[in-house]
Symmetry: D2
Subunit: 346 residues, 4 copies
């Protein structure tokens, strides 16, 4: 009963098969093997971005930071949601890769912000040389609240950003889940006009691979240099490529995200039936809900693993409602869900 993270789950068997295939025989290192060369083109086709600059990286933090460093100069400013992973969970990695930079936090419900909120934030930013220069906007899809961005809302943000001379980055650690939830395709995501995205695999059944996709082909060289100097160019790059090979083949990414989202939907239904209150709409593979402390204690005593929200008080009475994050992955079974739900009953 580990619902702590989609990172806690296993790797899909087809990925192991691809890794085993890649391991057969010899291959030139540092991405000079045939498979690595092929993957970039398959990603370009999937996202309908035929000239895009693309690299693979092994972690989401690296992928986001590489992308942002290509969008934001050291004296620049990035607007993002105040719960964004790049602000809360990357220990200043974007600022490290950028060589400076400043994240300006904007708010909104369900882990998202509106185009109007962005517009207001831009208007409130001082111009001139004394203030970090507005450079980029970053949004997370799925958001940190587990919700997906409708395409028209992404488009609206892009339009505001571009009109102000800024570029837009999409943190897609859970982009597959978002696309399944929103019923849209990679090409449709790219068609919103975003300038950079991370297409995550690690949280969706891969050991560790993310694709960085920049619309501007002129950024390919910069992206590769930045990856190398950050220690993220793998000598045995074929093992990254192989993961992505499996992920793209027959749209495995879509199947895995569908399984995870479906599990979460069923889990959420069960939780609601058990009296839990949903904190945000459950659209992807993450559930944020409030449980009575007594239920939480029973679940934990039965071995369930998950995180409480940071604001949950350590102590209190049995009826107090505590925020909890429960995450499903492609391998989550109904048995695991049922086991958890059964613990909730006092």
């Amino acid at each position: 009963m580990n619902f702590a993270s989609d990172n806690s789950g296993p790797t899909h068997p087809k990925v192991w098969e691809a890794l085993t295939r890649a391991d057969a025989g010899y291959a030139m290192p540092y991405g000079n093997d045939p498979l690595s060369g092929d993957i970039a083109n398959r990603l370009r086709a999937l996202f309908d971005a035929p000239d895009a600059a693309i690299v693979l990286a092994a972690t989401g933090t690296a992928a986001n930071s590489l992308a942002l460093a290509c969008l934001c100069p050291p004296w620049g400013r990035i607007y993002c949601h105040d719960d964004a992973h790049i602000e809360q969970d990357e220990c200043g990695a974007p600022e490290f890769f950028i060589g400076g930079g400043k994240l300006t936090l904007i708010s909104g419900p369900d882990g998202q912000f509106s185009a109007q909120t962005l517009s207001d934030a831009l208007a409130a930013t001082a111009s001139g040389v004394h203030s970090a220069a507005p450079a980029a906007v970053s949004l997370s899809n799925l958001s940190e609240a587990g919700t997906y961005w409708p395409l028209d809302e992404i488009t609206a943000v892009v339009e505001i950003a571009h009109a102000a001379g800024l570029t837009v980055h999409l943190d897609g650690a859970r982009l597959s889940n978002a696309m399944v939830a929103g019923g849209y395709t990679p090409a449709q995501v790219m068609a919103t006009g975003i300038d950079a995205l991370v297409f995550g695999g690690t949280k969706n059944g891969l050991p560790g691979v993310e694709a960085v996709i920049l619309r501007d082909p002129a950024k390919q060289q910069e992206l590769e240099r930045r990856r190398k100097r950050a220690g993220h160019l793998f000598s045995k790059h074929r093992y990254l490529a192989a993961q992505m090979d499996a992920y793209l083949t027959d749209d495995l990414w879509h199947d895995l995200a569908t399984a995870a989202n479906d599990a979460a939907a069923r889990f959420a239904d069960g939780l609601r039936d058990a009296g839990a209150e949903m904190m945000f709409p459950v659209q992807g593979n993450q559930i944020f809900c409030r449980l009575p402390r007594a239920a939480h204690q029973r679940a934990t005593a039965a071995g369930a693993q998950y995180y409480l929200t940071p604001d949950a008080p350590l102590e209190g009475d049995a009826h107090e409602m505590l925020g909890a994050r429960l995450v499903c992955n492609w391998a989550t079974t109904q048995e695991q869900i049922d086991a958890f739900l059964s613990t909730l009953k006092g």
Copy 2:
């Protein structure tokens, strides 16, 4: 016939087994799984450094740069061989991780430098605030010329460095090969007094893992923060730990390095018999030799893959001797060697 790099070879089957074991079931992410916790202690035991600060990273460039950033302030200076990987092959990664820093290059035969050369370089460095402050020394073992450092020479360098207030870093991308070649143990390496080392696995049969070991236990927190903000903390850290698990179990690292070194020794014998001139002593798994252009052309035509040294002229007559690097790995077979040697015969 791929002798381009030890990175070109396959992963050892025991490593796949360990990865498969790690994949069974669920595990907490970001190194909070039991195996990850265990690995650090096994490394401490192996190197007889019971308090050492330790993290795993997936690439040698990251591992070296993380270590150096913990040893050298942004205004510091690191002395290294002019062929050092950190100078030649990491696209400025040490300077990126350090946030500045300056590499001061010193020379010496066979990819090494003497304690006296270091001492002279220190004496020639201007003191005072106008000059980057001497902070650390870095040596590579195996060196970039494929030779191993005798323990007493490491000790001599450490003594000079420590006497001048500098720390010492050992780039051990091929440390296993060096230990096998020199007939010494991890504990003996640590006992030379070095302050930081990288114990490489990627070039020795693992998909991608290096251990960073800092003698000073007070550096653990800094090392972890630096790893995280560089995007090198893997969410599915168990897959790094599993590789190291296999590597440490029954001293697999030693077996693999022995196989690679032995293959190189046999290969070098054959090359000498075929008229090649060795550029450096062949002690580990790398061979640097000079071949006639005609032989090189035959080998290449037959499908052999390896790199010429950068100074090899693109064109010239058939008898011209060209520098070549030929690298063996744990899986190199006698058949591969013989096939290569047979192409040399005109």
Copy 3:
């Protein structure tokens, strides 16, 4: 009628005299002249910090950033008011000097924040390696709202910070005005326990000098290296030292700040009489008030120079109240004040 900034006013004649004295004859460069050596000790005596690490810099941005870089590691976090100069007006200089870092913004009335607010912000910060590590607190005295910090409130902030393992920085661009307003001495400021302060001169009658004072004497070398590599070690350092010489002699800093504060107090009285509404208490040399647009237009038409607050709408009706910042300096005359006030009358 230039009330745009205390930077707009002239240099005090005694400072020119000191510069002329310093110019007589030859002096060793880079702070190796006798006067430069003397100044640090006089500052140590003034602040009763006999071992403090001290350097001079020519700008407030440099002085703040040098101090903060000595307090906060690249992966660290600094808590400051959301209007702080280091956040709003330095184009990311702290992040540049730190080599990363993150400013966490906290709020409070009159440009200040309470010890409780700081305590709450610390409690709300996630611990662990995923989040930038709390490292320092920065407060501005005078605040950006022109108010001075009572000593006991500084002490309360220091206690909270130290208890949590953080250090405290005081941006003292207008520290002289604050000390005059609060009736306390440099030694009393230091006795609050703060770890670093900038003692500003540029906004108080000097062409451009700020003293950086760090309590920890072990930071002297780091401070000097950081200053040099930022291009802030002046070859003709005696011209910085001479400014500080004049500033310290007979407490010129106190006289100049007294003159500026007194002018602002009289000016504020006149503004109130003319119907302006004070936005913050007028305690130092800065006045933040609301004027009818018509009055603002008359003042501007008459040649008055000052800034409106960023939220002031460009267009509106004549009665609309607009926020304005009016700054006095040591040389502000009653005639200038009266001339401005006379323009306000319709």
Copy 4:
């Protein structure tokens, strides 16, 4: 008898007059005063670079580093002489401003390198993502050996650099002395095709001002942002502008450099007569010569101040020749020279 540095001498009286003029009355800060605006255009006219991006900075280290940061990306490489100030005397400032970067050292007599040497160094640099990318060339004029670059040699270097896609920076801390020595004009320097230069004032009679001139007008915004975030935008910028005003008016820079060069020429004649051996041609205001230890001891005993070259042994016999650097400035008198020469006679 202070010949330690041109930084040791006094400021020219016309500069004080200009500073006093600038101090009269009020001026808008941060370069928004009329004089600051005017200076950039006068510099553009002087260098016949009508669109050049220009800022003033107060130190040579800052000026060089700002220029280089606009030419070299964080993953780039700058070729410079191994005695260059940016390598030897700036404590890693270029790397700090660049956010990385690597200086590749090339050699040559008299502080200079030939176009051929540069070409060879470029050919020897590995291409590809593993190696810092060649980005710029930096030359110093006057060189660190006190010699001036002939215009055609600058042009030859520029042509090699541009053909390889690199830009060229000229460290002109003593550019006035070089132009006087070489008999060429600012416009002729710019016409060589260089992309960036620093026109120094600090070593030539100003308290502290250098102009940064970038040929590419698109760099103006970047240059200003970089200056601000490095703490080098002076609030009382008029005091920088006033220095440059005096410097440009009636070509004061030319008169001061002529005086300094002439003094050095006479001084060198006297030194030769006294048995000193010149180490490099004396073309500007710096003399590098070898003196017997006994003469050095007499000079020092008589109060003369100057630096020995770093290789001069601390102890030895009286006849041993020691390298010495003796620097003249605009104010050096024949009496000072004669006094020094008289001490040399045993």
